[in-house]
């Protein structure tokens, strides 16, 4: 056998050896559990008992006999529909600000990013305190403007807007991704608009936004997936209350699985969420062909 051939074979061997843990991990912690979850979703498994196949009963129960599921679904939908665009707009605004030639730009970038480094558990505890109706920061500010006390997360009517407000505080990573996108836009495009006598608004509308559509698409999908699976903050701050007004989907799933031990039902819930996310991602990607601009594409 030639030396070259031997080298080639050893390269293949090394390659497979190197990726083996990752590939094994894919089967053990990703594909295996997904398939397992599909099986469990059709059973009545509780941790204590052994599973029985009950067909589609879990799914029937969800949509026809479980009002809390339907409530949780609609709360999650409202939460995502408001939170995703609002966070994206806020992150985009901050990125636009930082994309200008300003003194101390990197300091502002650090400050805007800083809140997102706060661990979710710590930010939950902090905001629980900020929302405190009697002694919290937010009502203290409102009272300066003569606005009466709000109940924030302690009232069913304001709990979702409060959580959405809190999310805006942590848009740092999204802002950084927008900023990277903005910095990738070639300067000469803007110069062309200037030559034609265009103003800032024209630059934004005709250059910045079209050129940024791939970044917008990326942030949109990531943000949808994250928002639909929000857990830590509502778990620590509201436990889904008051009156299940913040019973976001994964919170309900967690309750079913780990507080009521209905593993079969919870797995069915997980599959529905998985399908919802898959369908939304697919639709977004599908329509993106019409609104995302790819250079040279």
């Amino acid at each position: 056998m030639s030396r070259l051939n031997r080298l080639h074979r050893s390269e293949t061997l090394w390659g497979i050896l190197c990726v083996a843990p990752a590939v094994l991990g894919f089967f053990l912690w990703q594909l295996g559990p997904i398939l397992g979850s599909l099986f469990i979703a059709f059973t009545d498994w509780t941790v204590a008992s052994s599973p029985h196949w009950i067909g589609a009963q879990n799914f029937q129960r969800m949509f026809f006999r479980d009002e809390l599921f339907l409530k949780s679904l609609s709360i999650t939908a409202i939460y995502a529909l408001v939170s995703v665009p609002l966070s994206m707009l806020f992150a985009f605004g901050l990125a636009l600000l930082l994309n200008q030639k300003l003194q101390g730009r990197s300091i502002f970038r650090t400050i805007f990013y800083l809140p997102s480094t706060v661990p979710a558990i710590a930010s939950s505890v902090l905001w629980l305190w900020l929302f405190n109706p009697e002694f919290g920061l937010l009502n203290a500010i409102l009272s300066k403007f003569g606005i009466p006390k709000q109940q924030w997360i302690f009232d069913e009517g304001t709990v979702l807007p409060s959580l959405i407000l809190m999310n805006l505080w942590g848009v740092g990573p999204m802002m950084i991704i927008f900023l990277a996108g903005l910095q990738g836009i070639p300067k000469h495009l803007y110069e062309a608009v200037e030559v034609d006598g265009g103003r800032a608004i024209h630059k934004l509308w005709h250059i910045t936004i079209p050129m940024l559509t791939p970044t917008i698409l990326f942030n949109l999908i990531l943000s949808i997936i994250d928002t639909l699976q929000a857990f830590t903050q509502p778990y620590v701050m509201t436990q889904g209350g008051p009156n299940n007004g913040s019973l976001l989907y994964v919170l309900y799933l967690y309750r079913k699985a780990f507080q009521e031990y209905e593993m079969g039902y919870a797995a069915a819930l997980a599959w529905i969420l998985f399908l919802i996310i898959a369908v939304i991602s697919f639709l977004v990607l599908r329509t993106s062909r019409r609104w995302v601009y790819y250079e040279g594409g």
Binding site: E11, I111, I121, V236
Partner: protein
Amino acid sequence: MRNAIGKLVSYFLCLAGSFIMLLPLAWLFRSSIMSPGQIFSFPPEWFPNPFAWQNYPDALTTIPFLLYFKNTLFILVPTVVGTVVTATLAAYGFSRLRWRGRDLVFNVLLTTLKLPYAITLIPTFLLWARLGLINTTWPLVLPRWFGGGIFYIFLLRQFFRTIPGELDEAAILDGANRFQVLWHIIIPLSRPALITVAIFAGLGTWNDFLGPLMYLNDSRKYTLALGLAEFTGLYSSQWHLLMAASAVVIAPVMVLFFFAQKHFIEGITLTGTK
């Protein structure tokens, strides 16, 4: 003229934005050094008087902070090592070595990048329960030794691909084996990327709440995140202590952020630009 006004408006917005972003953190710090008497005054006062630094030692003894810190490190160190080692190997195998089907396998793994975590939660838990390893750190550590997550592999692979291939070939012709190439050429040239991966993996463990919540039942095994949540439930009116404890959980992350800001930004940026 219009330009100058525009600049001024931008500065104003930046300052206002900074104020809004920093205010909650300032309130946290303010509350953490306020006496219990003053913290519950209405209308709320903005500045602590006197400074109740005693809140910090009080908070750290009320929750078994050192124990939780130790528990967290016992999970954090092996997860970071496992992630860096196995993600480096995988990224090397997916970028520098040529073998049939390589890109296909990588793309299959890449589909899990945005996989909703909720879908794997229950079967994984049941698997660990069947193995009798609930209330141990195995479920939190072991999975990280299997590539550490496709995000890190992706990140390192991007980086490895920027290193000229001639370096490998020259070393191979000199009689080095593939592992020596990785160890002596690729790894030394990839230090920034490896540090980024280590930081993100470490933060992931430090911040993780759901994992410890699912797998650790015994309060002597709690991590800091879980301990803080427990503390919040038990001492929900002791806000001065809660804020001090939160500040202690936040502080290491912030210190890390100030020293390694470049790595944070680069790691985030790489996820956005494929």
